[in-house]
């Protein structure tokens, strides 16, 4: 591969994957290899999170669209695409924050138990980094 930028990002993301694998392994370990019952998963709204996740995935396509427009010097399209990307990202963040607020109102917090710790650490690193 001669494009060093692409190569760097590819390798960096593969490396990042190991970071998240470790966080996921922690959750799987508590759920399947200890006697504790999962307190968080019962309180999660999979459909709601699923929709927000779809919006997040969509933002990577709009980003790609923006990149292609930039390469062709089509500034107006680029601005629209980048704007949409940022908007979609913000919507996802709002979804995550409202989800957190809902869980904290149900007394499910980082401190409450090991599943709280695991959930907020894993999703927190994903959402805010």
């Amino acid at each position: 591969m001669k494009d060093k930028g692409k190569l760097l990002v590819l390798v960096l993301i593969s490396s990042e994957a190991f970071f998240f694998i470790a966080l996921i392994v922690a959750y799987v370990y508590y759920r399947n290899f200890t006697n504790a019952t999962d307190t968080v998963s019962a309180n999660l709204d999979a459909l709601r999170s699923g929709i927000f996740t779809l919006l997040l995935i969509a933002s990577s396509f709009t980003l790609l669209w923006g990149k292609k427009a930039l390469a062709k010097n089509r500034w107006k399209t680029f601005k629209i695409a980048m704007g949409t990307t940022i908007l979609l990202g913000l919507i996802f963040m709002v979804g995550q924050i409202t989800e957190y607020i809902g869980l904290y109102n149900k007394q499910l917090t980082l401190k409450s138990d090991v599943f709280g710790s695991s959930f907020f650490t894993l999703t927190g690193f994903h959402g805010f980094m």
Partner: protein
């Protein structure tokens, strides 16, 4: 076709610290040679700090019932000794040599990402300073270098020491990942256009393979460290068994990083040995393909053996049996390498320079360390010897007798290139003999101490038959090593005061870094020699008898 490929670059020397803007020129530098040199100074500084900590440990243990320092201070000092030597000495020394030499050896003028390179160094530096800052905040970490939970949690370690440990190691970890990213991208994109991957110098090949290990292992540690930090600062429960967490999980995270880390520290050392032994035996490496391929085998096996650090935890026999077998397997590719180095020397015309003699010490002492390591792969022996001085002896035979000896060999070998001056062979031999004799005196005896039951990390011990004598001898060995390092420092000091006299290729070596001036100018190459084999400078010097053409 012309003999040289032209690269249009200007010639300029590396800035001098004494000049007007020299210091700024170094601190803001993105040049791989300057960053590599700064890594090496950083490693030397922490080597002295960690070495003094080791001297305090040996002083405390030299006689029974000693109370030279308090138990609390003792715990902090052995924790800091281990953490320093691994993360702030061996890592920066190997990454520093790699940063300096990798572009030179492949005919590149710079790393692929020079600013990332500077970022990596300063992160490592900052992490080390933060780790040591803990002494001023009420106490350094005191839970051992692998920081087992729940001892390392808030209930049992209430000072900020462990917090500084986690933050410091996260930062140095990020630095190492940055360096690894640069090693991979530079090797793949900036090689001399004629150099195929099969023609890489072995040091570069090992750094390249090693970079993937770093990229996979350090994020595992960083994730564990973040969880530990969140436990301590935000009252989470990851590793606290009393509130539903799992202390064993910390061990899994630490060792799934920690065992690859062992190979991260030894593979570049293998690379140094694979460069130095052929040059001083005046023979090409015996079985290049085997050395290169066994490196990949070690890297792949590295992630499948970590449980052998945890045999005493009480896993099932199936798990223990699997990891015992996989750990034994690692002996095969490692043994292949030792055979290759011996094969390289066989019938060679050996020059006994200090660098070469450090390689020979490496071969012997590292093999001893490898054998004591294989004994830990056997579960019943591990149960008997784990957490005794036998482990301490083993880890020092591979890290000090292995990695550190290779770093010394590399220092004596590449010093003329880096500094433009030859280190004194006379002082070098004092350094070598005092250090190697002292090393074996200190650590060979610790095998016996371990077998007769002395636990590691113990603060002091009662009068027991043999313990006092063996510990005293062990401490005397440490004094020998201390004296050896003093000779090394004296050697560095006097050498650096002398004028630059080194020629471009004083050892008659064959890799591209020796085609530049000593020291290289800021832009490494203005023209590259043609590369058709693994020994381009040999081909250039012996056109009548070139190596087999590989491209």
């Amino acid at each position: 076709m012309s003999l040289f490929l032209d690269i249009p670059e200007t010639e300029e020397q590396i800035p001098d610290l004494k000049t007007d803007r020299g210091r700024l020129g170094w601190m803001s530098s993105v040049d791989h040679k300057q960053i590599g040199i700064m890594y090496l100074w950083l490693a030397l500084f922490f080597f002295l700090v960690g070495g003094l900590e080791a001297m305090i440990i040996r002083a405390q243990l030299s006689v029974p019932n000693n109370d030279l320092i308090s138990p609390e201070a003792y715990n902090q000092i052995f924790t800091m000794h281990g953490t320093t030597m691994i993360f702030l000495v061996l890592m920066p020394a190997l990454i520093g040599l790699g940063t300096y030499l990798l572009p030179l050896m492949i005919g590149a003028n710079e790393m692929a990402f020079p600013r990332l390179n500077a970022f990596s160094f300063w992160m490592t530096c900052l992490g080390g300073l933060l780790l040591y800052f803990s002494f001023f905040t009420g106490g350094a970490p005191a839970a051992g270098w692998f920081n087992y939970a729940p001892l390392s949690e808030q209930n049992y370690s209430s000072t900020l020491g462990v917090d500084y440990y986690t933050v410091g190691l996260i930062l140095t970890g990020m630095g190492s990942i940055g360096a690894a990213l640069n090693f991979v991208t530079t090797t793949l994109t900036l090689r001399s256009p004629q150099m195929k991957l099969t023609m890489l110098p072995l040091f570069v090949w090992m750094l390249f393979v090693n970079a993937f290990l770093i990229l996979a292992a350090f994020p595992l540690l960083n994730a564990g460290l973040f969880m530990m930090l969140i436990d301590r600062q935000f009252d989470a429960h990851f590793f606290i068994p009393s509130s539903g967490g799992s202390a064993i999980l910390w061990q899994h995270f630490f060792w799934s990083f920690g065992h690859p880390e062992v190979y991260i520290l030894i593979l570049p050392a293998f690379g140094i040995i694979s460069e130095v032994i052929p040059v001083f035996s005046r023979k090409p490496i015996f079985g290049y393909t085997f050395v290169a391929a066994s490196t990949v085998a070690i890297a792949l096996l590295a992630f499948g053996v970590w449980i052998h650090h945890m045999f005493a935890v009480g896993m099932t026999n199936t798990v223990n049996g699997f990891f015992a077998a996989s750990s034994m397997l690692i002996g095969i590719p490692t043994g292949i390498k030792v055979i290759n180095w011996i094969g390289t020397m066989y019938r060679g015309s050996i020059r006994f320079t200090v660098a070469m003699m450090f390689c020979l010490s490496f071969l012997i002492d590292f093999t001893v360390g490898g054998l004591s390591g294989a004994s830990f792969a056997l579960v019943p022996i591990d149960w008997q010897l784990t957490d005794t001085y036998y482990v301490v002896a083993h880890i020092h035979y591979v890290f000090l007798g292995g990695t550190a000896f290779a770093i010394f060999a590399g220092t004596y070998y590449w010093f003329p290139k880096i500094a433009g001056r030859y280190l004194s062979e006379k002082w070098g031999k004092w350094h070598l003999f005092l250090f190697v004799i002292g090393f074996n005196l200190t650590f060979l005896l610790q095998h016996i101490l371990g077998i007769i039951g002395m636990p590691r990390r113990i603060y002091t011990y009662p009068v027991l038959p043999g313990w006092g004598t063996l510990n005293m001898l062990s401490s005397i060995g440490a004094v020998f090593m201390f004296a050896g390092v003093a000779f090394f420092l004296w050697n560095l000091y006097t050498t650096l005061k002398r004028p630059r006299t080194a020629t471009d290729n004083p050892w008659e070596a064959w890799t591209l870094e020796w085609a530049t001036s000593s020291p290289p100018v800021l832009q490494n190459f203005d023209k590259l020699p043609p590369v058709h084999s693994r020994r381009p400078l040999w081909d250039l010097k012996h056109p009548e008898n070139p190596d087999k053409k590989l491209n």
